[in-house]
Symmetry: C2
Subunit: 420 residues, 2 copies
Amino acid sequence: MYNTIQEANEAVVEKMKNAQPFLIDVVPAHTVIPEHNEGKLLTHAGPPIAWEDMTGPMKGSCIGAVLFEEWASDEKEAIAMLEGGEIKFMPNHHVNSVGPMGGITSANMPVLVVENREEGNRAYCTMNEGIGKVLRFGAYSEEVVNRLQWMKDVLGPALSQALKLTPEGLNLNVMMSKAITMGDEFHQRNIAASLIFLKEALPYLLKIDMEEEKRSEVIKFLADTDQFFLNIMMATGKAVMDAARTIEAGTIITALTRNGKDVGIRMSGTGDQWFTAPVNTPQGLFFTGYTQEDANPDIGDSAIAEVLGMGGFAMIAAPAVTRFVGAGGFDDALSTSNEMSEIGFDRNPNFPIPTWDFQGAILGIDARKVVETGIEPVINTGIAHKEPGIGQVGAGTVRAPLNCFEQAIEALAEKLNIEA
Amino acid sequence: MYNTIQEANEAVVEKMKNAQPFLIDVVPAHTVIPEHNEGKLLTHAGPPIAWEDMTGPMKGSCIGAVLFEEWASDEKEAIAMLEGGEIKFMPNHHVNSVGPMGGITSANMPVLVVENREEGNRAYCTMNEGIGKVLRFGAYSEEVVNRLQWMKDVLGPALSQALKLTPEGLNLNVMMSKAITMGDEFHQRNIAASLIFLKEALPYLLKIDMEEEKRSEVIKFLADTDQFFLNIMMATGKAVMDAARTIEAGTIITALTRNGKDVGIRMSGTGDQWFTAPVNTPQGLFFTGYTQEDANPDIGDSAIAEVLGMGGFAMIAAPAVTRFVGAGGFDDALSTSNEMSEIGFDRNPNFPIPTWDFQGAILGIDARKVVETGIEPVINTGIAHKEPGIGQVGAGTVRAPLNCFEQAIEALAEKLNIEA
């Protein structure tokens, strides 16, 4: 169908560029991910992984999810259940879904529903819980589980009702193109996008029928959660890339994700196949009382941001992030994005970046260029404590190992030779 | 008291740096500006000006204000009253106040109250009306007057009630230091600051006792008015600079304002004295259907932004503005701020600008340096149609004429010689 890899790549990024992601609903995971109805299932970040190979924060998240689902009544029982093999595990990426850090998603967790109107496909992601002690970083105390209950009982239904009042859902390209001019790169910094989302959702949140006290709780939570948009961007990224990867040709990266043990990538030309390599540990800045020693290796589906040309690739859009992740000043932000543009396939005219002299965000990571240049993609990331139950301890940057990209290119070469 | 101009200037900018502006209330102008209780008064932007010398947009604003106050029942009657000398005029700057574009303020218009907690002084500014047909740009149709009535009857009282629920008012340094990392320069771009203001005010707006429909109107207006924070910044600038100018020594600019005919400046060492020169006409980009031919000469108190180191001086913080005002790309934003730093006295550590490699905003325009270098301060500004009744037709930049600064330095030299 495509004469050259260049042509195939052009077709893949054309789908990325033309994507029309809209946030249309928030629903319990099991209503849109049927796998949750076939016994106890937890979906997780990264490529496939077994319980015994999971690192601390993902294990902590699993314990929290079991308690949230009331499959067990305490931590000990939950651990026994998880160790005993009663619970199935599956990557989020296998069920049209993504999740930050541990990424653990269970049947009754509410998920954001993003529809890519250009192709009609949908993708899902849990909602952002805020900062501090939160499930995604491996905390599972009563406070954490209670917040998840509130998100299920109050926040999710409120947003669902509000979104149903919108004429067509909320247009995410429009929100992202505004926010990228306001210092967000959508991985470590979503403060502008979260405010824009609040502003767009507000008229509808004010219209829906609900107790005034609960309405205030919802609005206050959204106003206070600077990273709320992170998870919306992630579902957006998944919806965009799942449409793009229907073209099974070329060398554009369609998934980049980490389970705490391995990084996994998918490439357009090799379809569903995962290419994995051991993860690196992020380097960065730590909250008071924590050091590099406490850092868990790299984890989370959130690197879908970088696949979209955001996160570390769009560092120049968010120079304030460089200080947060310990990556230097404005010139360092500029050189990071410039370096990443060497492994980018094209530019995205939907997202001009004023601080990059209005150049578009990077459009498509080209695995060929990664291998040719040896430049490993940079990821802006949160850092979880390596022990379960503690949570976030910092933020930093990490590189995706070259080896995955080499494997992908080799596999494609083999496939093309066999076909030819 | 000060041995050198340098020492005096240091004292002036110290007051700018230490200012603690808080938004504490919204009240009818006559309750805080007693001059409004002594017969019919309209206060205006810029240095003193008579009705017959006003340009179109300021005249249009006067007509609108007369109709809003119901001093006249139609345009014809309003014009007769204004021409007949029944109404007194006075600069906003003479009554602790500022106003954008025409800056026309009348007794019953609600004004924002900003208190500089460091010194205890207060400053006032009307609220932003949004875009399109608005009084400040000289429109005075029924739509315009009706919106002013709604602002008086609904928006003002709601914000007043909400602000009274806050523990100490809303901290404006905090909001501005966030927004300057989000692409705002506070003159032509306040989109981030306006969202941050909405977010901070929301919990209180949700608590106050008011009709739900009106509450929704208020919240929707604030969410939709991207320039709402402009007027808050202006009252902030006035509160900061009025405290700074209690030091009557040195060469720091304490006011820079335009009435459509003249630019007027005040300098710390020469106190209340105005130094004026004919205004230039802004150059910029025009809305569809309008051209440079339609542009009114420079007008408004909003150049208090530049006095604070924002607006054109902080162009680098807001590269997206450069396109809106027709001032080029990122490098042009950078060179504009770099050029302005040559006439700046120091840097403000309260407002680090990530896109300027975290350098602080410019702190204090030094009239000596303006005269020495011949660099005229750049102002980012809206452009009004030169005829009354039309409104905004574009946005651009304009320079404050060197001549005002030369006059100020000469006056200071004379004063110092006399004293010596």
